[in-house]
């Protein structure tokens, strides 16, 4: 009885891990697709203007649409791979204990700002439902929704990173190395 429940939790945790890994790569997938889309339409834009002589009217709005999506989903990737720029001159000089306090502080501040932005982003997405882009008439909600989603993803990624670093330090080092190499 006890054994089977143990087994079940383990199974659960592997499924959880799979789901997390899937979500973890979903942000990268979306950001990468957005980047590829921007590159393709930009090159197509040059070709259409210079060789076919029929410039693409909707080019700019689509570029900016994908750009916003790429940045906010890429931000989540950046948190995952430790790519966010921060200044650790003070942190480097502290002992383990003070360092931990500082890390907690930095974590809480980051969470507070991201959550504030998340609600701001949700409000913004709700406020612009009627606004559409000039050519393709895409709703601005679809563009701006990337911001709250990105903030929520950053909250998740940063929390996962912190949990890993505090409770499974060796795991975190390996993951970071893997993240950089792959």
């Amino acid at each position: 009885m006890l054994l089977s429940s143990c087994h079940k939790t383990q199974e659960m945790s592997t499924t959880m891990k799979k789901v997390l890994r899937w979500i973890g790569n979903l942000d990268f997938l979306i950001a990468a697709l957005a980047l590829i889309a921007i590159v393709c339409i930009t090159v197509a834009g040059v070709v259409m203007r210079k060789f076919v002589n029929r410039p693409i009217a909707w080019l700019e709005e689509m570029q900016l649409f994908f750009f916003v999506w790429m940045v906010f989903f890429g931000a989540s990737v950046a948190f995952r791979t430790g790519g966010q720029i921060s200044i650790d001159i003070v942190a480097e000089r502290l002992g383990t204990k003070q360092r931990r306090i500082l890390d907690v502080f930095a974590y809480l501040v980051t969470m507070a700002v991201l959550i504030y932005l998340f609600f701001g982003g949700v409000g913004l997405a709700e406020a612009v439902t009627k606004k559409v882009t000039p050519y393709l008439r895409i709703s601005y909600t679809l563009i701006d929704i990337a911001a709250p989603i990105g903030c929520a993803l950053m909250v998740v990624q940063y929390s996962l990173l912190v949990i890993r670093e505090w409770f499974f330090p060796e795991d975190a080092v390996a993951a970071r190395k893997g993240g950089n190499a792959s």
Partner: protein, 431 residues
Amino acid sequence: MTPIALAWIVLLVLLFLNVPVFISVLGACIAYFLANPSAGITGVLAIQRVISGMQSVPLLAIPFFVAAGVLMNYCGITQRMLRFCKVLTGHLYGGLGQVNIVLSTLMGGMSGSSLADAAMEAKMLVPDMVKSGYSLGFASSITAVSSMITPLIPPAIAAIIYGSITNTSIGHLFVAGIVPGLLLCFAMMFVVSRVAKRKHYPRLSEKRATGRELWQAFKPAALPLALPLVIIGGIRFGFFTPTEAGAIAILYALILGIAYRELRLDNLLSCLKETVSTTASIMLIVGAATCFSWILTWENVPQTMMTAILKVCSNKYVFLMVVNVFLLFVGLFIEATAAQIVLAPMLVPVAVAFGIDPVHFGMVFIFNMAIGSLSPPMGNLMFVTCGVTHCKTEDFIRESRWFYLLLFVMLIAMTYLPFITLALPNLVYGG
């Protein structure tokens, strides 16, 4: 305490406490909103500012040039360059040091970011330099300082950001960086050669490479080296905009990768990952700084500052000196991209009022901010390099003293001799 003073203090405290830069800047904005409820600013308006700061087609050039640089790196083009640099400068005193500098200059034509360049060279060259007798401090110092050349040689991310927020021609800014970049390269090579002679750092080869050897090493590097010419030429003759040039650069890198048979699905994926992550970090800072800059406008800070500057400065020479000292000071504490977005829109109109060319002013601004990234307490470039090489900050600074002197001389020269930056754009664009 006024809300705006509170915002500045919150910004500095958060930056020092290892909070990510864009969170620090936004934290300062939020502190301002909370301290000044009468302004009626909400989270909705804040995020709207952040997004609007990112929605600019010129800024799209950033992910493009980042991607092109990363692609070149993964496609073994860095290795080709390295071999060429070794043959080119191997006979000079301080061989590997010279290679380091020339490689930065040549790679500057492919990638726009000094951080990526510093990290790559710290990994590739510093271990070999230490093995052949260089002190760790000096090797790290050459790596970090030579990376400052990268943002001067086109394509340059700092020029893209400056151009897009101040409405200055990015094409002109690109061309304007070439001469200062090359000057800096030669001046640094001279310094390294003097230090190497005194400390007996070895040369790579006794004899100068023959024309034939040079040609052999040049051939595999020739196509990548042509990229800056394609970019500058394409923009100059109106074939494409700087943003489109970025997309073309990616295409060019892809074709080279396929031709050299180095492009595989796995390194393409790493490339995409590095590009989205780097771009997102830069763009979030851009967005956050746009929000902060909006608060300053709201508080009439630009006008107040303009009046104050005009009161102190009687002519443009004094103005340039005051601005340089001010920017060096700011650069010590605030990350360069954020500082650029907040300060450039305030300072450029004053500079133009004094009759200073915005392209000249932009290059002085960009160079000045780059110096800040080499010095504590907030020197990104220094931290990235020392992080890779495990060099102590103190050693780094001690070994960098000649370079600091050189950079200041260079800054003064660029400030007071406009032809260093303007001669080439005037020639190319027939100004």
